[in-house]
């Protein structure tokens, strides 16, 4: 589920400060925003698109006039995410991008279960979204900054938005460009795992190499090793948290080493055994990818 310029995107929470700011950025970059949702402002027009009372209403109206919507991006407060996401899933969204941090984990699991049953792909929560440079973006990444997102042939998967920016910046500084950036989110339970995002980039013909930006905590990087081992495209990785003490949550709820699980060493070992090059500092990523593409 790489977001493309023809994808029709709904913005739930479009009228809020951040919803408005980033909707304008997405539109300016080329994202096809077809509507927004705010039950209190249904029937109005915001950012040049109709505002609906629910995602289901949006789907019905957009289907009548065109083709409905494909993906919904949620600028929604954490405790309201479950209801908004279920609304979009019931409406028939193919994809959901949940940006919010601090969504209760059981709400996340409920949304993921409902999404699975309806064939909806969930990205996040606690993600900065995804970018397909030169085409469109969904979420709040600086897609419009050419020093960070110059179009190119390297696909990037990241649990962190800020670190994703740094890695893309380093790739561009090394003379490379980005084919697609997929933010999977910094929470312990997320809808799309590292392995699945890597597999999407492996299938994406515009991508020649893949960079995995991981973190301590959980086992998603270890689980991605099988996917990496089966790939022909070269894979480079950076895992954040080598210097982090055990037992402390490093900001992201998912970034914690506890009970000997989720350690830096285990992730590094798994990815190296699968044939990926794992870098000590993100500054080395550009050169590493270049040499493997040569």
């Amino acid at each position: 589920m790489i977001v493309r310029r023809h994808d029709r995107v709904l913005v739930q929470g479009i009228t809020g400060t951040q919803g408005t700011f980033w909707t304008e950025k997405m539109q300016a970059y080329g994202t096809r925003i077809v509507g927004g949702v705010n039950p209190k402002k249904a029937g109005t027009v915001h950012c040049g698109v109709p505002v609906y009372g629910s995602a289901r209403e949006a789907m019905a109206a957009e289907t009548a006039s065109g083709r409905g919507f494909d993906t919904s991006v949620l600028f929604i407060p954490p405790l309201a995410v479950k209801a908004a996401a279920l609304d979009a899933i019931e409406a028939g969204a193919k994809g959901l991008c949940i940006l919010s941090e601090h969504v209760p984990v059981q709400d996340v699991m409920y949304v993921i279960a409902a999404a699975r049953a309806n064939g909806t792909r969930v990205l996040g929560p606690n993600t900065a979204g995804q970018v397909t440079p030169g085409e469109c973006f969904v979420g709040f990444m600086p897609a419009f900054n050419p020093a960070v997102f110059r179009p190119g042939r390297v696909g990037v998967v990241s649990r962190s938005g800020s670190l994703g920016v740094l890695v893309c910046l380093n790739l561009v500084q090394a003379g490379l460009g980005i084919s697609a950036f997929i933010g999977i989110g910094g929470d312990p339970v997320v809808g799309t795992h590292t392995a699945e995002a890597v597999a999407m980039l492996d299938r994406f013909e515009a991508t020649d190499a893949v960079v995995i930006v991981g973190e301590i905590g959980g086992t998603m990087e270890e689980a991605a090793a099988d996917t990496v081992a089966a790939m022909e495209k070269p894979v480079a990785a950076f895992i954040a948290g080598a210097a982090a003490p055990a037992g402390k949550k490093m900001g992201h709820a998912g970034a914690i080493v506890s009970g000997g699980k989720g350690t830096y060493e285990a992730k590094r070992r798994s990815l190296e055994a699968a044939g990926a090059v794992v870098l000590d500092t993100p500054a080395d990523i550009g050169a590493a990818v270049r040499s493997r593409l040569a």
Partner: protein
């Protein structure tokens, strides 16, 4: 958020899972009094850690005199970093067998997971390693909850036929308590089968999902707050995630991933980070308060400011840093790297207001800060 046994067990009791009768006390005299009322008892140190038994914090006692002595010995102990200032005095149960039961969030299956073993008690982890088949696990659909049929299938032949229904019922109740309370983990270990054939939860561990605290305020008030240093507590009050570390290089970066990476790169060049400090999300507007906190740490000998703007705008964060700088006029050398959303404006601000030229890469900024800290330490 972690809960002590005494704060977790009432959740089980409310759902109809049996727990021993008990009293929470804070003095040896009250422990003696409780033993007089309850008969043979177990005296248990209250702390949110699993090391209580091994550390001598759990003692059976017969009669008030023994209870008084045991309580006096346990009160004031330090277990897993917690000072013990209260005890749960419980009526002793005649134990026939010990089982293990838990329900928890499972990132792998992206849903809840129920666990059961007929070999519970202190060594459940060791048993799970040596005989992995003895610990059964089953993901279930959070939309329907754990069904009686699923619970029966999970327990299967691990327990005698006569107990199967009761154990399955208990698992269904446990899963409901987990869902009704936004638990991250709810565990009973040991789950005793008594001589008279009842199932009794002898201990209970409950971890509340931190993200659910805003809608579980009443429950959270009974939890054990994180142990924080004075500076960490100041950070929490300001809405900033600040963790004090052992090193000398102060770190201010936006976003958890970038902050961790800044720590790693400082480490890579031979330095030691003095703190974790996240000003991600909406907190990016609090750079002034954040920098004041980083510099309030007396161990800090040099500073790295590393911004990579996405949602967080670097010119807003830089403006905040300059405000703190002008107020504090710190003497520690500072090394900047600024990229991403708003970086051109941010760099211009640094040049004009502080006369500082940021480094082209974060690696250079980190290396320079490590070198400066080393010079200052010697």
């Amino acid at each position: 958020m972690n809960f002590e046994e005494q704060a977790a067990k009432p959740l089980l009791a409310a759902a109809g899972i049996a727990i021993p009768e008990g009293r929470l006390v804070t003095t040896a005299e009250a422990a003696a009094e409780a033993a007089r009322a309850l008969g043979p008892v177990v005296i248990k140190a209250q702390a949110p850690t699993g090391k209580r038994g091994r550390s001598g914090g759990v003692r059976p006692s017969d009669g008030p005199a023994e209870a008084r002595a045991a309580a006096a010995a346990i009160l004031g102990m330090e277990i897993g970093g917690h000072r013990i200032d209260r005890l749960l005095v419980e009526r002793r149960v005649e134990i026939e067998k010990e089982y293990y039961a838990a329900v928890l969030n499972d990132p792998e299956s992206r849903g809840p997971l129920v666990l059961f073993s007929a070999s519970g008690g202190r060594d459940v982890e060791a048993v799970a390693t040596t005989a992995p088949d003895s610990l059964r696990r089953m993901p279930f659909d959070i939309r329907t909850g754990l069904t009686p049929g699923e619970a029966c299938a999970l327990v299967g032949d691990l327990v005698p036929q006569s107990e199967r229904q009761a154990v399955a019922d208990l698992l269904v109740k446990l899963a409901r308590v987990y869902q009704d309370n936004d638990a991250e983990l709810l565990e009973i270990n040991p789950l005793a089968v008594t001589r008279d054939g009842r199932l009794v939860a002898l201990d209970c561990k409950f971890v509340l999902d931190d993200s659910a605290v805003p809608r579980r305020a009443e429950q959270a008030a009974r939890g054990t707050p994180d142990r924080l240093t004075a500076l960490e507590a100041r950070g929490r009050d300001l809405g900033l995630k600040f963790i004090e570390l052992e090193g000398e290089v102060g770190i201010l970066a936006n976003g958890a991933g970038l902050t961790m990476t800044t720590m790693d790169v400082v480490g890579h060049y031979g330095g030691r980070p003095a703190n974790f400090m996240e000003i991600g999300g909406e907190a990016y507007t609090k750079a002034t308060e954040a920098l004041e906190l980083v510099l309030a740490n007396p161990r800090v000998k040099s500073l790295v400011v590393n911004f990579c703007g996405a949602f967080a705008r670097t010119e807003v964060m830089t403006e905040g840093v300059i405000r703190a700088w002008e107020a504090l006029r710190p003497e520690v050398p500072a090394f900047f790297s600024v990229h991403g959303t708003g970086d051109v404006a941010a760099r211009a601000l640094l040049r004009a207001r502080l006369g500082i030229e940021p480094f082209a890469t974060m690696d250079e900024a980190c290396r320079a800060a490590v070198k400066a800290a080393r010079g200052a330490v010697r």
